[in-house]
Symmetry: C2
């Protein structure tokens, strides 16, 4: 879905606010690491020549700036938080691409496939620690609390990633475990991104908590939509092969919800996706992907996940109503949430 | 070299002080990550059964405790610092073993070779962020400064690791560049380990700086000795094949110093180790290792590095004299430094 004009303008405004500070942070890295980071952010080609390659939308840094503005602070107050969450998010992307052996991101080779696994590990490590330096140097008064919130969110994200890896080998993942994993892997950092601006602005605890809950539920809604797109998404829009998650037998939310159902269709799905205990499983064939897609829907996995995405979006928007926030950024936060969740599904 | 009774007792005393807190920190990890960390620390086998496998000596946590004691604080004050530096040190070991494809450490499979590359990346990431959580939660007053010092040291260590990787491909590494790399890769974290206890104790800046310099020079001395052992060390003592660094054409200090010399022997060494520009180089053969070892010594690389190790040990001990420190821990720091540097070389 193309962002509405208002959301596109919002993302662009925040990108312009964040990029100089993000560039300044990356400039502190040693030359080899700076090159890798610049390449990853789409600022240069692998030889260091400036380019404007597509990169992320900067949702997390936008949330950080809006969190500060919603707490009646200048947007500048949120900038160290925005830089830090982008650094942590991109550290996790660089490492995740190694772990998942994904060779492309935004239609360019991923860092490990361009520079090698060793340099990619080190570059990710460098971004992670840089995030804390940025926060701890930002304000002696509020930087430490922001750094602590980011460390907690990062620890949750890493725990979620570890669970995600572990789930691949398990046959018995429950809907609750799957939800907890995605709350940790995606929700924790979005919760931190949404509240770190308020922390830096010295907002009351209730506002920090409300903004955190907003981001956490936004993350759960986002993950649910991502899981729907991984099965029913248009390859032209997602940039990934059709039914990619099914092909890889990924235990995404619709699949886990469908597997929890009873009846002959759920039995067929179980045998198709999980095989026999101890069996070594390769990727599904194209006709098996089609059959699995049908079965997940027939077992209610699509419906259940769609309802969940909507419920979490409602919870996110509801969290914003629990406290008094500055009106314009409040509306921006809500618009951004709706845009993120209401992609083509 | 077997530690003297006094140093062995010191390391054991600090291990007993640190291990419960280190175990408590590791217990906060998600089960899969906790298992990997316990295995890495030598506390359990790969299935989680308790063992007592050999692991590191705990030099860094001992330095952290001594730094607090030297600042007239209780050893407990240094414990969060000791836990944090051990966590960062071990995060770097787990990632370095992947980068260097080292399959064994302390005569056991390394984390990546036991659990896989993905889980090893994630486990390293988890220990790095846990270190900051431990510090930021330790004391609202002094934890942030300790966390900031650790973040700076970690950033230096990572930059040094990136340079080390880059040096492998370069023909023209100078002695200065090699020294700067080892100051960053080894010295920065030892500098932090030696001063973090003083930071947590609220010691004056001059004492923090003196202890930091002590650790930095100790790191440089340690690296010089390590480089000497990598060429002339006894395989029985080092646990690595004889002349391992030469076999891998590593640009360690003695090699770089020898390459900077003039004359036919330096020319022969250059051609043996660096080949022709653009040539793809495999490991050296056994007879080439022997010849290179002779040439490095003939070009003065051994003598130069030995002098450097001793000069840095002197600088380290000298740094301790710049400020007034509590006498007993001062002596312990000096004994530990001498023990670390005066291994069999």
């Amino acid at each position: 879905m193309t962002p509405t004009f208002a959301v596109a303008e919002l993302l662009e405004r925040c990108r312009i606010a964040i990029n100089p500070a993000l560039g300044e942070a990356v400039d502190r890295l040693t030359p080899d690491l700076r090159l890798i980071a610049s390449y990853h952010f789409g600022w240069s080609d692998p030889s260091g020549q400036p380019t404007k390659a597509p990169s992320g939308k900067g949702v997390r840094s936008t949330l950080a700036i809006l969190g500060a503005e919603a707490s009646w602070a200048q947007s500048e107050v949120g900038i160290p938080g925005g830089v830090a969450v982008e650094l942590v998010h991109n550290f996790s992307l660089i490492h995740d691409d190694i772990i998942d052996t994904d060779a492309e991101r935004h239609h360019r080779p991923t860092v490990w496939s361009e520079f090698g696994v060793g340099p990619a590990i080190v570059a990710g490590d460098a971004l992670a620690v840089l995030a804390h330096q940025v926060l701890l140097e930002s304000s002696p008064e509020r930087g430490p609390a922001a750094s602590r919130a980011l460390a907690e969110a990062t620890a949750m994200m890493i725990a979620g990633q570890a669970d995600d890896i572990a789930f691949e080998k398990r046959r018995d993942v429950s809907v609750e475990q799957c939800t907890a994993m995605s709350a940790a892997k995606t929700g924790a950092l979005l919760g931190c991104a949404s509240s770190i601006g308020a922390i830096l602005a010295g907002a009351p605890d209730a506002a920090v908590r409300a903004l955190h809950d907003f981001g956490l539920h936004l993350g759960l809604a986002f993950q649910a939509v991502d899981d729907l797109l991984g099965i029913w998404g248009d390859p032209l829009t997602t940039g990934k092969p059709s039914g990619n998650d099914l092909r890889q037998r990924k235990k995404s939310l619709p699949v886990v919800a469908a597997l929890a159902a009873a009846g002959p269709e759920a039995d067929e799905l179980r045998s198709l996706l999980l095989g026999e205990p101890g069996e070594t499983l390769g990727p599904l064939q194209a006709d098996q992907v089609d059959r699995a897609r049908y079965l997940v829907e027939a077992c209610g996995g699509r419906e259940w996940t769609t309802v969940r995405a909507k419920a979490n979006l409602d919870s996110a928007l509801g969290a914003l109503e629990r406290v008094r926030l500055s009106a314009l950024p409040h509306r921006d936060l809500a618009d951004l949430a709706v845009y993120i969740v209401e992609r083509d599904f």
